[in-house]
Symmetry: C2
Subunit: 308 residues, 2 copies
């Protein structure tokens, strides 16, 4: 049987690694298990930011200028909504709305999210398996100095300004992994943890007990790609959040956070890394498709037991 | 007390007369009671075509080129929807979606349609009362030689091609008029029936028993504006449908259809009209705002007992 690979991922940064793996691996050998803790209902429409980012990224539809959303997006819906007194803190592009409306219709008809996303991916001719971490509702809440905030209120509306004290994943303990999630982790030749925010974007997956257990017991090497570059996060609140949680912004903290799950870590060229772990070094900044492939190759090589 | 006026209306053609009345009458003296038999749920979103056409027309947002929908509309939602395998027989513009999404959210929260529309009208600073005929579900079905079709399937998808045998209004008999509807008819100084399709767009209102009774018993003159011009309909399937129902395409048929409800009829300059009715003649083709005002003036004058 040909080799199979699995990647656990959040949104923008993680999608770049998935894209790198997707570009170099044989068709249909990759499974992406995606965070749905950021999912929320807005204007009655169910939004799955990380899944949608992945769909757009892998199908070549992502907006390179904004860094999120669809390419060639227009904003007439938001303008009209505003004229009707609608809240405008969360931008929904005109083209982007199609995913949310189609998803909402299918969910209302009783179709589980995993089947809906599989259908979207197939329609867009993607040759990998994209799985939500669960078909159940899991909601990320951020406990801050301004009180407990739903993830999108913290991340988008407040632009990560409040100081974080803790992160909670409502519903995670009882959530059942989506069909295929556990099998993908257990039966892969390697499992990767994308360079998404460990506390906000990867922890929701780890908070689902059967997923954590599968990662602990799989025979496959579990390899994380560090989100840090020279002691900073490329984008997003990772470094700020680590500081607020009292952690040093280093790969030691990343490795400690994942703990015994982890068999190896891909770090940026110049960065220090824990000696106890198997390490690969490369330029982990992913701007171009070539960058994405380079980081994916480093991760694959580390998993195969060959340092690059 | 200052004079009050009420108009019963369907979509595009009717909205032009309402606009004419709205332009010349004092602020807040006009009530429009609007057909909701065309309303339907599409992609999980509640669409109210006639109400929305009126909102766009009166607020100066209507698309003059298309003759329906919003000005400056874009279509990225539909394009994305199509790429996901969504049905594309009914076009939803990007800006137009805002009304449907906001309405859907409010309906889900338990707000009746009449309150939602009043809020939209207020937000857009419209100085008239726009009432759905009812807050209950009434659905227009067209019985055709291709079978029984929901209104939008007949009107939009099949472009009125099937031959009509009868029109039905599901739910009308038990529907309760929206708050204010009966009072508007009973307490107005004149009630107008817009030049909408009598069988498809006005009959849904007349199929609600308390509305018909109010029209029969109000002391106000009830004045219709004929949708026919030189034996043809300006737009839409009125003439074709009259032929299919075995009726002559004349103002006699229009007058007979409304029967004893009617106290007067505004007809086009050159057209014949029943002698038994009080008649006003003008050029009833409404292209410009001036045209709309002219027809509205003719209707108001006829109601006031002065032929123009």
């Amino acid at each position: 049987m040909s080799a199979r690979f699995t990647v656990l991922t959040g949104g923008v940064g993680g999608a770049k690694l998935v894209d790198g793996l997707y570009r170099i691996l044989p068709q249909n050998s990759l499974t992406a298990i995606v965070n749905t803790g950021d999912d929320f209902c807005h204007f009655g429409l169910p939004i799955s930011p990380d899944i949608d980012t992945l769909l757009y990224t892998l199908s070549g539809k992502s907006n390179q200028v904004l860094g999120w959303g669809r390419e060639g997006e227009t904003w007439n819906f938001m303008a009209a909504l505003k004229s009707l007194g609608g809240e405008d803190w969360f931008n929904l592009g005109d083209g982007d709305l199609a995913l949310h409306v189609m998803r909402g219709m299918a969910l209302s008809a009783g179709e589980p999210l995993s089947k809906i996303i599989a259908r979207f991916a197939k329609t867009w001719e993607l040759q990998l398996s994209i799985l939500p971490m669960t078909d159940d509702a899991v909601a990320t809440w951020v406990d801050t100095d301004e009180g407990l905030l739903p993830f999108q209120r913290y991340f988008v509306e407040r632009q990560c300004a409040p100081k974080v004290r803790a992160v909670r994943f409502e519903g995670a303990v009882d959530a059942i992994p989506a069909p295929g999630v556990i099998a993908a982790i257990m039966e892969s030749d390697a499992v990767f943890v994308a360079p998404s925010n460990p506390w906000l974007s990867v922890d929701p997956l780890l908070a689902i007990p059967p997923i954590r257990k599968a990662l602990e017991t799989t025979k496959a090497p579990v390899i994380a790609i560090s989100p840090l570059i020279e002691g900073k996060a490329v984008k997003g609140p990772t470094a700020k959040l680590m500081g607020e949680l009292g952690l040093e912004v280093t790969n030691y903290s990343i490795a400690t956070h994942y703990g015994k799950l982890l068999d190896g870590l891909v770090v940026h060229n110049k960065d220090e890394a824990p000696q106890a772990l198997t390490i690969a070094r490369t330029d982990t900044l992913m701007k171009s498709p070539d960058d994405r492939e380079r980081v994916a190759r480093a991760a694959l090589a580390l998993a195969a037991g060959r340092n690059t």
